[in-house]
């Protein structure tokens, strides 16, 4: 047996320890076959046959399951071994005393990378400390969530203030005297924005199918943001493109194929989203690890198999004014000024300045402001960014909304908020509270992945989207793993979840007495936290 030395990696240093019960194991091999991380292996070990001192040297060799002690192939706690074991013989148990993050840096001289979520969560969740406290009773009639009809729609696109709307009466009809900025009414939840590459082709297609189904069968005008990793040409040329918000980020990946498809497109896309930053890792550009750059991803993106690091900024943009001129003007021009163009930034101490600047946009071409909070997810990030950079979404959304209110310009550039929504299992409540605080709608990624089967959580389980070994077939391009994902089931679950959310939104709108979205109705909210009350300007209650 090899000598164990102190400066080696040991089982106790790893974040998860495999608990294995030899007496229950039937050695079917399913756990090792299922483990995408190659974190466990069958092994032959020696066992004493008897404890008798006279038979001391009589040993036998037995087959057991062992944990790999490795910085690369280590257990992430995904739980697939326990899921496949017919006999409850194996499971991963969290190791509170792990030293993995120290060992990784000490051995590799490299920063630790993670996918999924931040696992630090020191800031707590503001949204959970807010309740819907203004219930219509004698003041105004509340509604019946089950039987009344509700209009759960929000504007997407630049909304002009009344004094800028010029109309004349032509042939007895009210007609605008100048072209109005494009605007459409959409569902206040946007799927997105996860790229082809960050998620598997099956996952991406399931989202697209669910989007189409919700629009065409259920009449729910939900939109999906494509992320920046290209869009299949067949989809671009179909009518379903009208439910898609095309994203352009600093890598401009896949845009040549979009441009080439334009002459054959029968419908306009729902919008364009210019991604400047991402809440999970503000200041960083996109990151797609080489293990996920499959052949088709290489083709769509026009790159070889390599780590793909998008620049942290759009090259050529050095100021807000410049970004308005270049990105907004060009993206508006691309679809002949018929499609709303919005921008997504990471929530930051500076977000309000950006929003104020955009509100002054003289061309009326800023169609939406997407703010992404620090609890958002990501396909891959350096752990240092994921855990230590960013800004919570709630107060920043509120700041932007109130900045507009103080100028009397709320609603002119619709606000969309995202980042960690549904984190504690109450997605509809999060959506509703953000809307009351001033959001026109929300966008969500991680909840969608969890609906699809992602087994990660915010306390260190899995979060391996960066490795390409996603055991659920969601954040991987490995054909064996992707094939674990059932497109129909994922799409059905997404549809079901949105239908449930839709009803739950009604269950919150009804007692407040709103049959339309209560955007900015912060009087509907109370909080039992004095600091939150002061900061968000909502009623304190105790």
């Amino acid at each position: 047996m090899a000598a164990v030395k102190i400066n080696e990696l040991h089982k106790c240093d790893l974040p998860w320890i495999i608990e294995y019960d030899e007496s229950k194991c039937i050695q079917c091999g399913k756990c090792t076959a299922a483990c995408s991380f190659n974190a466990i292996k069958p092994a032959v070990v020696e066992r004493k046959k008897s404890n008798s001192i006279f038979e001391k040297n009589k040993c036998e060799k037995v087959l057991i399951i062992k944990q790999n002690i490795s910085l690369d192939n280590y257990c992430t706690g995904c739980g697939m071994c326990a899921n496949v074991c017919p006999n409850d013989a194996i499971k991963a148990v969290r190791n509170k005393d792990d030293k993995y993050s120290v060992a990784y840096r000490a051995k590799k001289a490299d920063s630790l990378k993670k996918g999924g979520r931040s696992n630090l969560n020191t800031e707590g969740r503001t949204l959970d400390k807010i309740k819907i406290g203004r219930i219509s009773q004698m003041t105004d009639p509340s509604l019946d969530a089950t039987r009344h009809t509700f209009e759960i729609k929000t504007p997407f696109g630049r909304v002009l203030s009344a004094d800028k709307l010029n109309f004349e009466v032509k042939n007895g009809k009210v007609t605008p005297t100048a072209t109005l900025p494009p605007n459409s009414w959409i569902y206040p939840v946007i799927f997105g924005d996860m790229s082809i590459g960050a998620v598997s082709w099956r996952m991406w297609e399931a989202m697209a199918i669910a989007t189409a189904y919700l629009n065409e069968v259920m009449g729910i005008p939900i939109r999906m943001c494509t992320g920046e990793g290209g869009i299949p040409t067949s989809l671009l040329k179909s009518r379903y493109v009208k439910y898609m918000i095309l994203q352009i980020a600093s890598g401009h990946f896949g845009w040549n194929r979009i441009i080439e498809a334009m002459p054959d497109m029968t419908d306009d896309p729902a919008g364009i989203l210019i991604k400047i930053g991402q809440g999970a890792k503000p200041g960083d550009g996109g990151l797609l690890m080489a293990s996920k750059v499959a052949r088709y991803v290489q083709e769509i993106r026009g790159v070889p198999k390599a780590d793909l690091l998008s620049p942290p900024t759009h090259q050529g943009l050095y100021s807000i004014e410049e970004s308005v001129q270049k990105m907004f003007l060009s993206m508006n021009a691309a679809f002949k000024f018929r499609v709303p163009v919005a921008i997504k930034v990471a929530a930051s101490a500076t977000s309000v300045s950006v929003y104020n600047n955009l509100l002054r946009d003289p061309y009326n071409i800023v169609g939406g402001f997407f703010l992404d909070g620090l609890a958002g997810g990501t396909g891959a990030a350096h752990e240092i960014s994921l855990n230590h950079t960013g800004h919570p979404i709630t107060s920043k959304l509120r700041d932007c909304y109130l900045a507009a209110v103080h100028q009397g310009r709320q609603g002119e550039i619709p606000l969309f908020a995202g980042g960690g929504l549904g984190q504690t299992g109450s997605f509809a409540a999060d959506v509703f509270k953000l809307i009351c605080l001033g959001a026109n709608g929300v966008f969500c990624g991680r909840t969608i992945l969890e609906i699809a089967g992602c087994i990660g959580n915010d306390i260190g389980k899995c979060n391996s989207c960066n490795t390409g070994k996603c055991p659920a077939g969601i954040a991987t391009q490995d054909k064996c793993l992707v094939s674990r994902l059932d497109v129909d089931t994922v799409a059905q679950n997404l549809v079901n979840y949105i239908l449930a959310t839709d009803f739950e939104l009604k269950k919150l709108m009804a007692p407040v007495g709103c049959s339309t979205l209560p955007i900015g109705r912060s009087d509907a909210l109370i909080t039992v936290d004095k600091h939150i009350s002061n900061r968000l300007e909502i009623q304190y209650a105790c």
Binding site: T146, Y213, S483
Partner: protein, 353 residues
Amino acid sequence: MKVCKIKAYSDSERMSTQALFQLIYEKVQEGFCDFEIDACGQHDIACALWAKKKNKKLNFKIKNPGQRVGAMALNNTKIVVEGSATSDVGWLNSGAEIVVLGNAGDTASHCAASGKIYIGGSVGTRSGALMKYDPKFSAPEFWVLKNAGSFSFEFMGGGIGVICGYDCDSLKSVLGNRSCVGMVGGVIYARGNIEGLASCVCIKKLEKEDKDFLLNGLKKFLKEINKEKILKELTQFNDWKKIVPIDSKEKKKNIPVSEFRKNNWFREGIFGDLVDDTADVYALAQSGAARLRKPVWDSKNCVKCDICLNNCPQKAIVKDEKTLSYCAADEKCIGCAICAAVCPKQVWQMKKK
């Protein structure tokens, strides 16, 4: 006995509702059954009254009533409002016959449980809401010559509503918008355009008994509101529709997403030209193409001990007796690596697929 005439106001003063009622109570106790009330907006006139002698009928002729005329009125009460009435006519009607010759305001016939309400004009929003039917009494009827405002017949639980749509051809919907939300029982007959009905109801054709009911009912209704001349116009039954709640068994289920994908989505999927995908869904531990890793045998150090073969849980390892070579059968092997672990000579290597 003579008619009791009450003028509920003077030049300088309006009688309070309470004072008016005290007077009516006194007169009823004196044995009066017929009242003519020249009102001044007093509410709840004829509310919950009965004659001193059992089975005698109370008759009210009312001008200019306030809200809730005929509210909670009982069987053996007949009320005729000369002109229009404001909101809540016949609220919780419990058997009275109430005639309004003009229009009625919002929530007419709200919660009516029996009796008949006849309106000679239009009614406002939420009219007919929550009407109900208690089988111990006759079903409530609510007849309207013209149209109803939005949210009509909301949460209706029973009874019969008849909206005649007379002189309403220009309207998009004689039931207003969002009619019948939450309707679970009863029936509505409507003549003219209908739009914006709730999804919980359906429109049916009139059967013979529906037509008979309408014919008899219309005769009586039109007589009450002095419009007998238009009977012929209103009895063109092709103009009528019948609205009933959808039986919960009949409620259609949404098609599964898988069906939508088969019928409406791209045949080969949107990635058909980009990736080679068989669309199979793999189990976590499965043989063949689903394996994450597969064992490869190398003859160099093999001592042909058969330990691998004997330990393979899937019985996937095949030994060629002629060449004395081994291989793992793709259709059985799940890639568990037990062969590699048990081999004393490290002959099996696990290769990533």
